[in-house]
Amino acid sequence: MSFDWSVVWQHRDALIAGTATTILLTVATMAIAVPCGIIVAILRLYGWAPMRALATAYVEFFRNLPLILVVFWAFYVPPILTGLGLSPLATGLAALALNVTAYNAETFRAGINSIRRGQVEAAMVLGMNRVQALRRVVVPQAVRRILPVLASTWVSLFKDTSLVSVIAVTELAYVSMQIRAQSFRVLEMLTAMAAIYWLLGYPQAKLVDWIQRRFAITE
Amino acid sequence: MNADTSPLRPMAAGAKIIRYRGVIKRYGGFQALGGVDLDVHAGEVVCLIGPSGSGKSTLLRCTNGLEAIDGGDIEFEGAMLPRDERALRAVRTRMGMVFQSFELFPHLTALENVAEGPRTVLRNDLVEANRRATAMLAKVGLADKASSYPSALSGGQQQRVAIARALAMEPDVMLFDEPTSALDPETIGEVLSVMKKLADEGMTMVVVTHEMTFARRVGDWVAVFDTGRIVEQGPPTQIFDAPTTERTRDFLSHLGWTG
């Protein structure tokens, strides 16, 4: 058994490009999923009944589906239904965003709900209206609870970008597996793929730990 | 006057169950106990009173080895308190401890809680352990709550189950760490009644408490703590009616104690 690790170095440009795409997908998805998640959470908490039902249905639906299936569905179905074809990258981004928005909506909703009623009442008896109470009392506290969960979701998202490789988006996983197929250096490429994810993901995981410690709730 | 031979200490004729000699306990740079001397005789109810943080609870936790002392000696029934965990376990079976936060095991019913010690530690069989447990629950007046979980019991009821749990081990001494501090006023009485009953039956008890009326009426000997030392000890009549130190007078007046 001989291993040729130079194949990793030879294809470093492709791997770097793939890594960049992975990072891009992660950032772009979060950039969409945070504001959208806030909107959906607000609809669930404060909207009229039909809006609430719709928002809840959306959240429950996407939290109970495998992401890989959503990716496939997003790739094959809309082009047939609407005649529009999005690039694999855009499709992957859309699928990821739909998925993460649902999780974020639940995070924001739970974060806001976890603030005791008494806090809002205390704000109101001081004379604040609902909006002020939300802005100055509830949201600052909710942010402390939400941030650690959001950080955790971020790391999960980073890993989930690997799933869009199944529709040939040229992120790290796809690129690695292509090189493997072309060079037949299976162990080397797959190990390199794991190692690159590890190098990027490990610090992120430790950062999440730090955030969770820093924002730990002491009541 | 030597505390041991004071004529006001009727129980002093009995065997010394616990002897504390120069007990020192440090937490890092902070000295929680700075040389405590105290005797506990058979059948005596010794009450430890004093401001929060004065070392009363610390002394109790050192007594059954939950904390290790840094200096001095603790003797239990004539032998030094061991440092070895196994030997310490054997000693603990002869001491019962009741906590401020009850610490009932939430996944067990009241009966199971009380039977847990006999079953797991004394290795009684189930029938014997349950028999003991039933008897102890009846003793604290909660025979009808045997199959209730702690979450269904009031604070006072939980604490009484905790007392039954300690009694089921048939200890030689009962250690109470602020047993009523976490209770609603309505339920304090039921717990103190149980403790008085135990005292009347001759149980040796060391009680850390803020309930001055209890210490006055049920205690045989009272030790006043302040910053890790005993500033005064004597019979309740002395401590509460005619304290001999400034510190004791201060402490009692801060509590609004008017006798």
């Binding site: 058994m1 639906f61 939290r63 109970n64 589906l65 495998p66 992401l67 890989i68 299936l69 496939f72 569905w73 094959y76 179905v77 047939i80 890993k159 989930d160 690997s162 799933l163 199944v166 996983a173 493997r180 299976v186 162990l187 797959l190 190990t191 793929m193 794991a194 994810y197 590890w198 990027l200 993901g201 490990y202 992120q204 995981a205 | 059954n64 939950l66 965990e85 196994r86 376990r89 054997a90 603990r92 079976t93 001491m95 019962g96 906590f99 936060s101 610490e103 009932l104 095991f105 939430p106 996944h107 847990e116 010690g117 797991t120 530690v121 979980y149 979450s151 905790a162 300690a166 081990m169």
Partner: protein, 221 residues
């Protein structure tokens, strides 16, 4: 636009076998990762220092590496190292267990550490040994506290089995891909798959919630 769901009914056995594999893989890897996670957690909590460091490294690594990567590595790369070839199902089982056990271990650790220290003190005061305390007092309470997180992990497990399609495990996702490709009816097939997954996952999460509500008091000390 008309939809022809006959493709589903015509091939229901094909799809049903996929569902069967999904459920089988979920249950088995759920169990193996639970057991492995418990062992890992106990090592982390009570093991000797070098072992603890290794365990923490393993757990944090699984937080960094995607399931897809672990599965693909288990199926394609592991046989090269060990000389053993594994059928896809076994490789998926190995990969999923290795990945999920890390999360299970963290859940166990969090559960155990969330039990009040006073409980340990009370048990010590009765004269119990450390081993007895962990077994009879800590773990029973901790297990109740872990239930919501484990329910969530079960949900994740079921979703992760779909990724095993990438290494040709004939679970529902894979069967759907095959059928959609052959029949040129991706809408019907994938929509059907979505419904199946939803109606498996939704009751699981709800069921765990309901069960937890009923037993939560057993873990509250």
């Amino acid at each position: 636009m008309d939809f022809d769901f006959a493709v589903i009914t015509d091939h229901w056995r094909f799809l049903a076998s996929g569902v069967g594999i999904t459920l089988l893989l979920s249950v088995v890897s759920g169990l193996t990762s639970l057991v492995a996670g418990l062992v890992v957690a106990l090592l982390r909590l009570y093991g000797p220092r070098p072992l603890r460091v290794a365990v923490v490294l393993y757990i944090d690594s699984m937080r960094a590496i995607p399931v897809l990567v672990v599965l693909v590595w288990s199926f394609f790369a592991l046989p090269i190292l060990t000389g053993l070839t594994m059928p896809p199902f076994v490789a998926a089982l190995v990969g999923l267990t290795v990945h999920l056990a890390a999360y299970a271990a963290e859940i166990v650790r969090a559960g155990v550490e969330s039990v009040r220290p006073g409980q340990t003190r009370a048990a010590l005061a009765l004269g119990m040994s450390r081993a007895q305390i962990v077994r009879r007092i800590i773990l029973p309470q901790a297990i109740v506290r872990m239930l919501p997180a484990f329910g969530s992990l079960l949900s994740i497990t079921i979703k992760d089995t779909a990724i095993a399609s990438v290494i040709a495990v004939p679970e529902l996702m894979r069967q759907s891909e095959t059928l959609a490709g052959q029949s040129f009816q991706p809408i019907e097939v994938y929509t059907f798959a979505m419904l199946v997954y939803f109606f498996i996952l939704f009751p699981v999460t709800r069921g765990v919630d309901i069960f937890y509500q009923r037993v939560a008091h057993l873990g509250r000390s």
